[in-house]
Subunit: 226 residues, 2 copies
């Protein structure tokens, strides 16, 4: 594997910015860059964690096979590391990661990555901050899913896409109704019903996967109040 452009890559992670020229050469020699199309699996649940994945561009869903049905834990936008917790918490992946848009991923050899942590405190500190922020997001998710009811969850998810992913109140949903249901923890029928409901109430304008948020304040209220 070889990826000699790390040194000149301009989408470095916060952590990689702390590496010096020599370390960046090592990184380049121990990583490889791969392209994924929508639906292609980047990381497979149960497989051994042989490398660290860094998403350079694109959009990825983190998901898991639940006891009953699938569950999407998170949607991650580049730039971000994927599943660091799995890498350092265990030696198999606890989740799968699948591209939902065209995505570029750098796979970094685990040993190399670990060495950086051991030898470069600034690098380690950035990784810890990253993990911390990620975990906070996930906890936030947990609360929502635990106590809100369906309309609130869907509202939450839509606002997430608008704010966090696209930065606009008009966007094309990158996931199917089924996937949205897996993300919010409801059935696809319920998701569908809530969509038509929001459409009728003129809170959203929906044309297939094209969504425009018309009454953001109301949607926010629904999201907050459960």
């Amino acid at each position: 594997m070889s990826n000699p452009v790390c040194k000149f890559c301009n989408i470095k992670s916060q952590a990689a910015l702390k590496l010096n020229g020599c370390e960046l050469d090592v990184l380049g020699n121990n990583s490889s860059q791969v392209q994924f199309g929508p639906g292609e699996i980047i990381i497979k649940q149960e497989a051994p964690t042989s490398s660290v994945a860094y998403v350079k561009s694109g959009l990825v869903k983190i998901h898991i096979k639940g006891p009953i049905r699938g569950k999407i834990l998170n949607i991650v936008k580049a730039p971000a590391y994927l599943c660091l917790h799995s890498t350092f918490g265990d030696n198999v992946n606890h989740f799968s990661a699948t591209a939902i848009e065209k995505t570029t991923v750098c796979f970094i050899d685990s040993i190399t990555f670990r060495n950086f942590i051991h030898e470069n405190g600034d690098f380690a500190y950035q990784i810890i901050q990253d993990m911390g922020k990620g975990e906070l997001r996930n906890f936030h998710n947990l609360i929502n899913n635990a106590q809100k009811q369906n309309m609130g969850r869907v509202a939450e998810a839509l606002l997430f896409f608008a704010k966090e992913i696209y930065g606009s109140n008009s966007f094309t949903l990158p996931v199917s109704r089924q996937e949205l249901a897996d993300l919010t923890g409801i059935t696809r029928e319920s998701a569908s019903r809530i969509f038509t409901n929001f459409n009728n109430e003129k809170i959203l304008k929906i044309e297939g996967r094209k969504i425009s948020i018309l009454k953001e304040s109301l949607l926010t209220q629904i999201s907050v109040n459960g």
Copy 2:
């Protein structure tokens, strides 16, 4: 603050074991040890994160004020760090931590802790592993809460106490019915009903908070199948 015994403490964290004598002196001079009784608040949600908390002994619940009712995110047994994610993800605590048994906590000055990470790669690596393991546990929780129904959740919680906390099928529940409900995300009435149900079915023997698991395999099955 002063706690000169760090050097000779025999309940050091995995991370602290990586510190040298000199660093342990610094740790001692920048940390303090505090005792908490059941119900006493160790970390308060929304308060600034001024120090890192290390639980030396005892049992702690991590909880949060939800939009509708409280939610217990996790029950943590010593030895463990508390809420590292809050410390590094943001500068206010996103959760509260409350002792549920007599608990000893060491508060370590954040700056000191950060310096260790920057300067001692082995220390940093242990912290990262800790965070990784913790996050995996939490994700596991999320899945359960998302898809199981009430009986399964209660079964899960009981097995958690038996396996992870007490290592025995007979134990005294350290939490009230209300708290168990907050942990599993159900109402206290539902919790109560399920308890009497399990008692009638002879899956458990219940006397107030004293619990004996009689049919572990059945309970496990209920827990797994939702």
